[in-house]
Symmetry: D2
């Protein structure tokens, strides 16, 4: 596997970084400092969710498990209503999760996250993002919620990824992770939880790589 | 709370990792080699477009100009119908652009790009992507086309970014670049071209950073 | 208000109705009574909007003007925060309009409309819907907001239409009406207002037809 | 307030109307004749699909069964590649179904339907539409395909509906019908087929009502 080779390269890269003064990566102006390669501490992913019945909370926990699969990346899981400016400032990666209300993000969740850059003045530039959703029907809007969260993050200048999947014959990605939790398919299945883990794993992996 | 349980699980997981030799960075399996940090040559962005009347071609040229703003990144601009497997394999970043036909990607363009991973077997894992569109009306589907191209790239395991914008009072991002080229607003305006340059610049900047 | 004039037309319309025997509504079960063809009063369109700076309010007024182009259809324009259950129960058509916050419906607006069927228990089955949006950038999410509002209405069992457009050489529709009101294109243009009128006109026309 | 201005404009508009003989219901200009209420024969729904492996074909058959639940509405099921201008001209309702290729409508299907109004010159104004999709993953793009087909139809001036659902405690709608047919959930389940039937039933019901 290329992973061991990568970690050697990574160590070499750290040495190079220590001896260079390259600083800025160009994408961000003075008011948009990119997450600094010389930042102290491990890469950090925040899993932020809204949940009324508990399903989205469970999916958030699975995303966090996935983050834990990437060595050297730390994770925190929080309800959006409990997240502080410090939580957001300190996050290198951010995974947003939401139930589906009438095909869309619940107003209560959107009201909270609308304030993050507007009132809290958080700068999300170049943070790595991913999204997940729960909902009661296969065509109930889970994908639309994921896309809506991705657009929110893109509007906030983030970098977006989804989970990586593969079977014996092919490999592919997805826009995020979702669980159908309604009348035809109650609860969260093992496959849905594993999709969420893969989402966390990918966000963690790319977050780590961008900071290395 | 599940958080304490999670951190126990996480510690256990770390122990397991320490005792295994799986290493895994997660993002890339054996059939999904990430663009190698040791790859020869400069980071390379391919701007791939479909154009019937020439408007999307002009927007593609502006995207390429934006790539040129990032030192050390090279750029190529091609019609999707002329792109080879080698072009795609060699691209570290890919910006897709399309006109809007009935609110969506034209069938002729989608037919070409459907074959890229399916028949050409190109592996897009961890390539950096962005999207742009042209169309005749403000609500004619340009955004939907951009989202559709982003989803195409996400499904192909890519990493997505949009342009970064800022005014004197605020900064924000966008899902991509678009030009309205119809009855009310013919041709491409200076603002539309500059938005496209900023898209190219961001894709180039993040591509370079991921390869550094 | 034009309501008194309209009521004259409406009286004539009722006479016509009284002489017909058009019958069944078909689509809706016992808990989903379709707007009744024998309902008292003229077809009625409610234009419901959220507006902070006033742009969406202006676009709402243009939508209402468009409703006024269809003889026999009455119109009301209200902020979502002021709308009562009676307003919604009495509306045969509903046009929703919103600004764009971070690519999506503002949380404050969504929080209000989330309660309409959930807490107010309004039954939207077979009401006719359309949507409009304002935002600061061509790719800022206006289309995504329109789609999000359309999905909200579809989830609430409504029937969806957009404006009809035509030029000398072609005719086409759109998903709704939008105005770009930001740095590159401040204010609402005549074309944007006319698009909004056409949206109102179409919703009114189909609402009237479904009730006739 | 603009309301007073509006009522003046409205009165002027009424005068103009009174002096003209244009009559017009607004929705349809001379090149956009609405399906005529006096049209001979039964309301007619065309279910048009693209299918490679057969799953979308099966879902199309279920949609057609649902059309058959509405007395007096006839139905035809065709591959998009076999559909003639006459098929489309004669359809009062149209349900489009597609598999999901890389999160979107397959190029082969879109290429066919792009020609319907562009080259075949079919006028879709006021036909009633609905959409369905199949795909391999819960977040593989099925919803995005349904939305894309709905936008295609909206751009072609159609009227859109989705299926109506209800449980013992609530009722709701959806954007369309979908089946997940991949590794975790092969084949079409009874619930997925029933969702498709409900889509057909709703399109048929509204088609009939608009023509009555």
């Amino acid at each position: 596997m290329g992973c061991r080779l990568l970690s050697v390269l990574f160590a070499a890269h750290l040495l190079l970084l220590a001896c260079s003064d390259e600083g800025g990566s160009g994408a961000a102006g003075p008011r948009a400092p990119a997450p600094s390669p010389t930042k102290e501490g491990a890469p950090n992913v925040l899993v932020a969710y809204h949940s009324r019945t508990g399903n989205t909370k469970k999916l958030a926990a699975a995303v966090a498990e996935g983050v834990g699969r990437v060595p050297g990346v730390t994770v925190a899981v929080r309800r959006v209503s409990e997240i502080t400016r410090e939580d957001l400032d300190g996050a290198d990666g951010l995974v947003l999760g939401s139930p589906t209300y009438y095909g869309n993000i619940p107003g209560k969740m959107k009201t909270v996250i609308d304030d993050w850059s507007w009132k809290m003045k958080v700068d999300f530039t170049n943070k790595v993002g991913g999204a997940f959703a729960t909902g009661g029907e296969k065509t109930g809007g889970e994908e639309h919620v994921i896309l809506s969260l991705l657009l929110f993050m893109m509007n906030n200048r983030m970098i977006l990824v989804g989970p990586l999947h593969e079977t014996q014959t092919t490999q592919f990605g997805a826009m995020g992770a979702a669980a159908v939790t309604g009348r035809h398919d109650p609860g969260l299945s093992g496959d849905e939880l594993e999709d969420a883990r893969k989402l966390g794993e990918r966000v963690a992996s790319i977050t780590k790589r961008l900071l290395s």
